[in-house]
């Protein structure tokens, strides 16, 4: 209050905020403006700008007159749509078994839901070709035994196959969460009025779980639609994201087509998200009551159990295939035209560590700094939004979260466009420096950290801060001494999550990295995988990446879990009491 009183300008503007709050907001806003809003804005402007200046739609007309682009557009839609279909075929039965039945393999299903997430799809893509490709393990055996061949990995099929296997957990987790949020009385009311079995499932359970399914499915659609790295690694270029990448990197930054495609990527992604949000409006079906608790888990019949195992085991093998493949590849002397490698060696790991250790150190440095930026920005934004009355604070939150809807490729192109002509003292372009890559990684992963920080802040009851203020602490002291220490567990989880996901980022990275010495792990994998001889070392790097991500995922989980236990031991302040 005294701060406001002593500064007449803030009183005149009727801003209910202290100078430090305004300063913090200004710094965050400047960061978001410079590295998210302006670059993405430049992409849009360029897409609609005529060569001689002014607004034009001629580039879009060109786009829709070029058969390659039309084909790419439909291919991207087709691949995203089919990935949703196949991911659903895998995820829906697993979610239903997990949420509704007492099944001894449930722990296995839970593992199934995490395994794909610790391995970026582009890492597994090459291994998948060795297992399911034209001359891969499966087809070689099939040719031997039955003289048939499955074109699982040919062209678009390969992308759909790899993406469905990677992204099905999004549907599995969303759907099983919404299934287990259905109060048991919802089902019992149906039974009481005469419904049973499939009828009950169709009329009550599935409609109630639909919001969860849609949320997961739209996420899968958007992720696949925007993905650049997986199609590139599988040599599929007739899709939108690879086309945009190729235009910008081979034709040049001045070519408008890269920007037009970027705009289309953003528009379709936002439309898919908005469409699912629209469908879900007014359908918040979380019906679980206090004391109640989820659908009743029923015992399975013998036949049911056998059927469930017959589904879960092949699913597990399928999901494990990329992991097993990449591990084998990283240890293989030669693996070509044979079901299994000819021999095993640790040489690839030695090669990677001896010849390109910078991939690892760069990742630690870039992603570590990026995750640190994310945690700091996340805390500041969460605090501004939930603890101050600063005007425009909701907009700040919205802009930071909107990074989720911007494909990495688009942000990368925007950054190139905006900062390519800005030079560092040494003469290098700012856009392609490791500093910019680090900032871009931070922008892309900020939503995760912000969400975690918001959740952690919600756990700190306002009265704990008021007690500090009552004893004479200013807002900065309160934040540093009370709020942040109480949020520590959540923030540690946010740090490792941001770090792990940044470590396997490859869309913006592909666009921004120009030299191997400045390249992180994910780029290194991509470069190695380009040549047959590099596949071994590439796989070794891939295994290292998977291990790093797995450890981080486990650590994030452990931090969150420890925090939850610590909290349940302390007396929680209650709002009403």
């Amino acid at each position: 209050m005294s701060a406001t009183a002593s500064r007449p300008w803030s009183a005149r503007l009727r801003i209910e905020a202290s100078a430090s709050q305004v300063a913090a907001a200004a710094i965050v806003a400047a960061f978001l403006l410079a590295f998210l809003v302006v670059p993405v804005g430049r992409v849009f402007l360029t897409a609609f700008a005529a060569a001689e200046g002014g607004f034009t739609l001629v580039h879009f007309a060109d786009f829709f007159r070029t058969s390659l682009f039309i084909e790419s557009f439909w291919n991207s839609l087709y691949v995203a749509g089919m990935s949703v279909v196949f991911a659903s075929l895998l995820a829906v039965p697993l979610a239903v078994i997990l949420a509704r039945y007492r099944f001894p393999g449930s722990a296995l299903i839970a593992v199934l839901g995490v395994l794909p997430l610790v391995m970026p799809p582009f890492v597994g893509a090459v291994a998948m070709q060795l297992i399911f490709g034209r001359n891969g393990t499966v087809n070689l055996l099939l040719m031997d035994w039955f003289d048939v061949r499955l074109d699982l990995m040919e062209g678009l099929n390969g992308v759909i196959f790899v993406q469905s296997l990677h992204y099905f957990p999004f549907i599995l987790m969303n759907l099983s969460a919404s299934l287990s949020n259905i109060d048991v009385s919802m089902e019992e009311a149906g039974q009481n009025l005469g419904a049973r079995g499939a009828n009950l499932l169709r009329t009550i359970v599935l409609p109630l779980a639909l919001p969860g399914y849609l949320a997961g499915a739209s996420l899968v659609f958007v992720k696949v639609f925007d993905d650049l790295a997986t199609p590139l690694l599988l040599n599929v270029t007739n899709m939108l994201a690879p086309q945009a990448y190729l235009r910008v990197t081979s034709v040049g930054l001045g070519d408008p087509m890269g920007y037009v495609i970027s705009v289309i990527l953003v528009v379709v992604s936002v439309a898919a998200m908005a469409g699912s949000a629209l469908l879900l409006r007014g359908r918040d079906y979380a019906t679980a009551q206090r004391g109640g608790g989820g659908l009743s888990q029923r015992r399975m019949t013998r036949t049911g159990r056998i059927l469930a195992w017959c589904f879960v085991v092949p699913a597990l093998l399928l999901v494990l295939a990329p992991h097993a493949g990449i591990l084998l590849l990283s240890l293989a002397t030669i693996w070509s035209f044979s079901p299994l490698p000819d021999g095993f060696t640790l040489a690839h790991y030695a090669t990677v560590l001896r010849e390109t250790p910078q991939f690892l150190t760069n990742t630690l440095l870039f992603c570590g700094i990026a995750a640190l930026i994310d945690v700091v920005l996340g805390v500041v934004i969460a605090w501004l939004v939930h603890r101050t009355r600063l005007p425009g604070r909701a907009l700040l939150d919205l802009v930071a979260m909107s990074a989720l809807a911007v494909p990495g490729l688009v942000l990368g192109i925007g950054i190139l466009r905006t900062y390519f002509d800005v030079h560092l003292p040494g003469g290098d372009s700012l856009a392609t420096s490791w500093i910019m890559l680090t900032i871009v990684l931070a922008v892309r992963r900020l939503p995760y950290a912000l969400r975690a920080a918001t959740a952690a802040l919600r756990q700190v009851h306002r009265s704990l801060e008021e007690a500090a203020e009552n004893l004479g602490a200013g807002s900065a002291t309160t934040l540093a001494r009370i709020v942040v220490p109480l949020m520590a567990g959540g923030l540690a989880a946010a740090f490792v999550t941001s770090f792990a996901t940044a470590a396997v980022e490859l869309s913006a990275t592909l666009v921004l990295v120009t030299r191997d010495v400045d390249a992180p792990l994910s780029y290194g994998i991509y470069i190695y995988m380009q040549s047959a001889a590099g596949r071994g070392p590439g796989a070794a790097l891939g295994v290292i990446a998977v291990v790093v991500v797995a450890i981080c995922t486990w650590a994030a989980h452990a931090f969150a879990e420890r925090e939850r236990r610590r909290r349940s031991r302390t007396v929680e302040p209650r709002g009403a009491a």
Binding site: D183, S185, M186, E188, A189, G190, Q191, N192, L193, G194, A195, R196, N199, T203, I204, P207, L208, L210, G282, R283, Y285, T287, Q289, G292
Partner: protein
């Protein structure tokens, strides 16, 4: 379908090692408003759910209209259960919720629409037919839940704590409506509640449950006036429970010597005495016993006193508050008289 009676015969039920119901037997007559009254954990809701078919007793039988329904699944019984949380399906409109049971019974469309409207008319909500549950108030949601159950014309109506999710101000009104509806339709109804006032006001007869056992069955006044044991006496209203002995038709405990109105076997007994069975005398001449006022609570319509007899026995009593009669101050003395017609021997 018409209303049916319910017979519960020797039912025991448990989850693993936890016993929930122990040898419960009771008989609910056709068209009766019956209440299961008990504290939480007494097994009353479990018993209700067994009647609806959610769970199978470990021992014993459940008969509805004389037919053994013990192993009949919920969807094949014609028993309407109104859930404590109403369990309205949020993805369906009010009309779709109410029509659900009729669809399962393959009632033709025209007939179905008519009965949906009739059920909603009955609870006075026909104008909200196209709303979704989230757009209704708590009281309206409950009426929809009742209409959804009434639409199938159940043989028995089961109400699981129907008033517990309503504001205190709404409860008395809704309770009266429930009773009126039950009388009009002649429905066999079972109400589960932990609130004695609710059970007293609504039920023709009730069963008091505790620890999975039925302690007493009777009309509300029977249970209040002649409780069978300490639990029932204390659970239904306030009771002074005094341990003493009966000798030659006289109850003695400390300084109390009370000639009993009804014959009682000699020996050690507990006497239950309602607060209104004690009359206070402010003048020194009236009343047989002298007591000191320990505590005075002014409750508006009446004043509650905690009194201590000379021998240390404590009694709770209530006196109607009248203007001009100031409550007795703590520490003061008073004389009192016990009305032998208001006591019962446990």
């Amino acid at each position: 379908m018409s209303a049916q009676g319910v017979d519960v015969e020797g039912v025991s039920f448990g989850y693993g090692a936890t016993r929930v119901l122990e040898d419960v037997s009771l008989s609910i007559r056709k068209g009766e408003f019956f209440a299961f009254l008990g504290p939480s954990g007494s097994g009353k809701t479990t018993l209700l759910r067994l009647i609806a078919g959610f769970g199978t007793p470990d021992r014993g039988r459940i008969l509805i209209g004389g037919r053994d329904m013990t192993r009949t699944p919920p969807w094949s019984r014609n028993v309407g259960l109104v859930f404590q949380n109403y369990a309205l399906w949020p993805h369906m409109t009010v009309a779709q919720n109410v029509a659900f049971g009729l669809e399962r019974r393959r009632v033709p469309r025209a007939e179905r629409d008519r009965r949906v409207r009739a059920a909603l008319d009955m609870v006075g909500l026909a104008h909200l037919i196209d709303r979704r549950p989230a757009q209704l108030s708590g009281g309206q949601q409950q009426r929809v839940a009742i209409a959804r159950t009434l639409a199938i014309e159940p043989e028995v109506l089961l109400l699981d704590e129907p008033l517990s999710n309503l504001d205190a101000a709404l409860r008395a009104g809704v309770r009266q409506e429930l009773v009126e509806l039950q009388r009009r339709l002649g429905l066999t109804t079972i109400l589960v509640t932990h609130d004695q006032e609710e059970a007293n006001a609504a039920a023709d007869r009730m069963a008091v449950l505790d620890g999975g056992r039925v302690l007493q069955i009777g009309t509300p006044t029977e249970l209040y006036d002649r409780p069978a044991n300490r639990f029932v006496a204390a659970f239904l209203g306030t009771a002074n429970l005094i341990d003493g002995t009966v000798e030659d038709g006289v109850f003695r405990a400390g300084g109390i010597a009370l000639p009993l109105n009804e014959p009682a076997a000699p020996g050690r007994v507990t006497l239950a005495l309602r607060p209104q069975g004690i009359r206070l005398h402010r003048d020194a001449s009236g009343g047989a016993l002298a007591a000191r006022v320990l505590r005075t609570e002014f409750l508006g319509g009446h004043v509650r006193y905690t009194l201590e007899l000379q021998e240390g026995q404590q009694l709770t009593t209530e006196e109607a508050h009248l203007r001009g009669r100031d409550p007795l101050a703590p520490g003061g003395t008073v004389r009192l008289e016990i009305d032998p017609r208001q006591v019962s021997i446990l």
